[in-house]
Structure formats: C-alpha cells, structure tokens
C-alpha cells in the first residue's frame, strides 16, 4: 500500500471539514435547491436567491435545454448559480446516459445529477441502473452526483468508480417525512470519501439541521420550499437551519445524556 498517497488523501479530507468542495469547486452554501413545483418562475427565482444557494438543479425533461430563452432557464442567473441538470424521469441507464449526453452537447455543462427512477409513484432510485449509468458517465468525463437510496454498499461502489458525491434520500422524494433512513445515512457519512448530500424527503428546516448535525456535507431541498405557504420565507428558514446544523457539527456535540447525574451518588462512599 502506498502510505504517502493515503496520507495526502487524509489531509485532503481534513481540508474538507471546513469547506465543501465538489469536483474541485468550492461551495460556501451547503444548501442545494430544486426547481420543480413552484407556482411561478418568479417565485422560484426569489426563493433561490433567499436560500443563499450556489447550486440549482433543473430537470432536463422540464426545460428546453438547447434554448437559452426557455422560461425556467432564463429565470436562473447562471453567473450566480451552478446549473446542475438532472435526469429525472429516466427509467434505466440507457435513458439517463442518452439524456446526459444530449444535455452536455447542448450546454457544455458536464455536471449531472443522475436520477434513475423506474417507479413513477415513489420515484425510488434503481441501484443497479444507477451504478451502470454512473460508470459510463464518469468514464465520459461527467461530474456525476448520483441520487441513491440510503444504501452504504452502493455508496461505496459509486465512490470507487469516481462519482463526485453520493446523494442518499432521507425518505421518499416529495414526502416531507424527514430522516427516516438515519441509521443507514450515519454509516454512509462515516464511510464517505466524497461529500454526502442528503437529497430527498427533508420536509422542514429542523430535518435539514438534523442532517447537517449528523455530518452530512450538504442537503438538497425542493418540495418543502416550493410548496410552502411562503416559499421565499421557507427558503430563508432552510438557509439558517443548514448553517446552524453545520456550525453545530463543527462545534462538536457535548453528547447526549440519558439521565441526570444523581445528586447523592451511590458510590460516594468509595474514597480510597
């Protein structure tokens, strides 16, 4: 084993504790935003602004990617936000790869949120097809951010083939149920060599804060903001929650005590 290169990997990992770096690009915001479900492109743009995000994901199925005049694309300031196209709607690796190639040819963006969801109801990701597509796309030079179930072994396999992140779901997408997959996400974070972005199901700022306190590198939010009574205000709330959660993680928890210290200890007589 090459100890030296392992050590340099370790110091690189140390650096990442303070900054979020994905494929060499540094992000000061750890909140990524989805663009579906908004009542208007204007509200979407205002919510993006309020969230303080630097990365915005757009479904290729929803936009005319070859047309810069597309209403949704025009509403996103490409100078301020990195546009992350996603393959939402792809049922298998072939479809996702085809969509990704066309998007890159049209836009020269080589970042891709890989989504392969054969089941149109719960939109749960297909692990086999996702891995297959990721292998092809990484080889073709894409920066791949795969949406996955909270499966630690799959996360490791994706890291091994060179994806830029892993993006496990907290609960079914759009469900707002929060961190139902917490135990598996803890393992993914513990084993990660790339940033872990919690992707789906975070319904309230407290869920996002919890994910960040656990040590997630970032979270991605769409439904909870887009369908809130006041999306702009909710975007701000998520911004604060993500910051608070991250700061708490960096500060280090003092640990949870299950019970109070007894005021009259039973072992107080042991003085020698």
């Amino acid at each position: 084993m090459d100890t030296k290169s392992n050590l340099s990997d370790l110091s690189a990992a140390d650096d990442m504790k303070d900054k979020l770096i994905i494929a060499g690009k540094e992000f000061s915001s750890r909140l990524f935003i989805g663009t579906g479900k908004y009542a208007s492109n204007k509200i979407m743009a205002q919510s993006i602004e309020a969230s303080g995000t630097q990365m915005v994901t757009v479904a290729l199925r929803r936009v005319d990617i070859q047309n810069p005049q597309d209403n949704m694309l025009a509403a996103i300031d490409r100078k301020k936000y990195l546009l992350l196209p996603n393959t939402s709607g792809a049922r298998n690796a072939d479809e996702a790869v085809r969509l990704a190639r066309l998007a890159r040819a049209a836009t020269e963006i080589n970042w891709l949120k890989l989504e392969v969801t054969p089941d149109p109801y719960y939109l749960l990701p297909d692990p086999v097809e996702t891995l297959k597509a990721a292998e092809i796309l990484v080889k073709e030079g894409f920066v791949v951010l795969p949406y996955i179930n909270a499966d630690p072994v799959l996360a490791k396999k994706l890291q091994d083939i060179g994806t830029a992140t892993v993006m496990p779901l907290a609960s079914p997408i759009g469900s707002n149920q929060g961190l139902k997959t917490k135990a598996a996400i803890e393992i993914i974070i513990a084993q990660a060599t790339v940033p872990v972005v919690i992707d789906a199901g975070l319904g309230m700022p407290s869920h996002a804060a919890e994910a960040m306190e656990m040590g997630a590198d970032a979270v991605l939010i769409n439904t909870a903001i887009a369908t809130a009574g006041d999306p702009v205000k909710m975007a701000e709330a998520f911004k604060k929650a993500v910051q608070a959660g991250r700061e708490a993680f960096e500060a280090g928890s003092s640990g949870v005590k299950n019970q109070a210290d007894a005021s009259s200890p039973l072992t107080g007589f042991l003085r020698d």
Partner: protein
C-alpha cells in the same frame, strides 16, 4: 366504512374507502374532501398544471357507438388529414407553446394505420417533447412500433365497465370486443408506454359502480405495470350532433363529478388527473385549484380544426373555448404555473 374514517383516518386505495367517499352521505363532506385533495395534489405535483392539445387526424370510424358523433351511421362531413396536413395543424399548436400533443382519431383502420402513426410521430418529435395517442386498440407488437417512433403515452376509455351496458352500446364493429379493449392498457404498458390514461364515458352507466371498476383497473395496472403511471380522465357525455340524448340515463351533475374526482385523488395521490375542454370554464378553473394536474386548452375536436374553422364534423361541442394564452393567465391568477414541457424526446431512442 364510515365516511369520517375514510376521509380522516385511511390513506390510499381500498374499495371500502372509495365506496364511502363516493356515497351520498359523503356529499356533506365535499368541502373537507376538496381541502384534502388540494393538499395532496400540491404536495405531489406542486403548484403546476401541465397543458396539452389534441390533434384530430380523422373522423372516419368503423364503429357505430350511438353516443359518438363519429359513428359510421352519421351522415356528416368526413375528413382525414394527410401527414403534411396534420403537421400544419401541429405547427399551430407548437406556435401556441404546446410541447405535449395528443393524436386522436376515429377507428379509421384503413387510413390511420401503424405506418401512418409512425411517420406522423417521427415528424412531430421535431417540435414536441411528448406525444400521446387516443386511437383504436392495437396489438402489443404495434404498440412497440409506436413507442419506438416516439409515442410515449396513451389514453383509452372503456366507455363502460358494465358488460351488459357495453354490449348494448357496442353491438357491431371491432369495438364490440369488450376484453380486447379492456386489455389495451396492459399491451401498451408491455410495449413501454409511460402514461396510461383510463376513464369511462360518464353517462352510460351508474357513476359510482363505474368509478369502483375504474379504480380497480387502475390499481391492477399500477401494481402489475409499476414502471408506468396511470392518469384519470373524465369524459362526460355532452350534446353532440346526431346524438340522441335520451339514450343516456346516467348523466351526472357537477357536484357528483367533483365528488368522483376528489375521491379518486384521495385514493390515488400520485395519479394524473386530466380535465378536458368538454367542461365549462368555471368548473375547470375551480377544479384546477383542487386536484387537476393536466388540462387541454384551445382544443378543436374536428380534423383540420386549427387551420380551417368549422369545416368538418366535431366529435363533441367544446365547453371551454378560451385560448391557451388565456388559460395560462387564468392559472397564473390562481397561483399555478402552466407547464408546457414535462418530458423529453431524448427518453426515446
């Protein structure tokens, strides 16, 4: 089942829950049903409604359905569009902004053939990101050809799930085969179709029992063909030329139609709910805020209707003749974004 339990405690589909939600007692709970339907729809689909337009390519038909103005006994002007004519019609829709198009035809098996549909959809793919069909049932092999040509979605209505009523309304022609029609969506799903549109012609049989059968059909399809998504449409019999309205004993009120739609939304949170221009503006605008996820706009139901007004026979009278731009502005005023494109031709090779 108690209506309160059906409404407040249960989730998802089971026949007992649906029966409670469709019952006369549930009419007292229409408001909370609507509230819940809206909450589910907004969570699952966001503040958006997808727009589409129908492209009628032929009003020739080999069937004799007494409720349809296209029936072969009807002695009125007929028209078939050549590929070139159909593309000209489609160009108008594309210019209006549409990216989802629905090809509709009578059962014109001599002219609207599989090669015709393949050629047409290959042309339409240049401008449209999603192509659906509402034509006569074909075999799995033919659906595979259509899917490969770029058609991703299908709608076909059973008209009535009641076998006796079905036989009464479809005495002759290929449509007399109840099971061939019933199994159409299975064949399309096997061929890869993404969206499977179901419905029955409201007015031919009792609506509550029909809705139960519809739900059973949808439940079967979602479980067996889990990679396709179901959509519900609500074709309600409306006055049409040469159609005898006395034939239909089961016409329903707006309130009953709303109850049916709310009940289906509560039982199928992720299903698409489609409302066409058969319905009046006021009803459409209000239902758009509650449970509808897909609407047609500016529709013409006669072949050639977008390029030449009133030249050939329409399938039914349009109740909402507002322009697509007007529909977009109405939706906007209700805080709903009209979505023109929600699919991509790149999904199909």
């Amino acid at each position: 089942m108690d209506i309160q339990k059906a409404l407040y405690n249960d989730t998802g589909y089971n026949p007992e829950r649906l029966a409670a939600l469709l019952s006369p007692e549930a009419q007292k709970y229409l408001e909370p049903m609507a509230q819940k339907a809206r909450q589910i729809t907004r969570q699952r689909f966001g503040n958006t409604i997808q727009l589409y337009a129908p492209l009628y390519v032929s009003n020739f038909c080999v069937n004799s359905c007494p409720y349809c103005a296209f029936n072969k006994q009807s002695d009125l002007p007929r028209k078939r569009l050549t590929i070139e004519q159909a593309c000209k019609e489609a160009d108008i829709l594309a210019d209006d902004g549409f990216r989802h198009i629905l090809i509709v035809s009578g059962e014109d098996t001599k002219f609207v053939t599989i090669p015709y549909l393949v050629e047409l959809s290959q042309k339409l793919r240049e401008k449209f990101s999603s192509i659906s069909i509402e034509i006569y049932p074909v075999s799995t092999e033919d659906y595979e050809k259509l899917f490969a040509a770029g058609i991703d979605s299908i709608a076909i209505y059973q008209e009535t799930y009641d076998r006796q009523d079905y036989a009464k309304f479809h005495k002759t022609g290929p449509k007399a085969d109840y099971d061939w029609r019933l199994e159409t969506l299975q064949r399309a799903a096997q061929a890869g179709f993404r969206s499977l549109g179901l419905g029955f012609l409201i007015g031919l049989s009792g609506w509550q029992a029909q809705t139960q059968a519809l739900a059973q059909h949808a439940d079967f399809l979602t479980k067996k063909y889990w990679q396709s998504k179901v959509s519900f449409s609500f074709p309600r019999l409306r006055p049409a030329e040469n159609v005898d309205e006395k034939l239909f004993k089961y016409m329903i009120t707006d309130t009953q139609l709303a109850q049916m739609m709310f009940a289906l939304r509560l039982c199928f949170p992720d299903a698409e709910i489609v409302l066409s221009t058969r319905e009046k503006p006021d009803f459409r605008d209000n239902m758009a805020q509650i449970c509808v996820t897909r609407m047609s706009a500016g529709s013409r139901t006669n072949p050639g209707g977008y390029t030449q007004k009133n030249e050939s026979l329409s399938q039914f009278e349009i109740a909402d003749d507002r322009t697509p731009a007007k529909i977009v502005s109405v939706l906007k005023s209700k805080n709903i974004e009209a979505v023109w494109k929600d699919w991509d031709r790149a999904f199909i090779k």
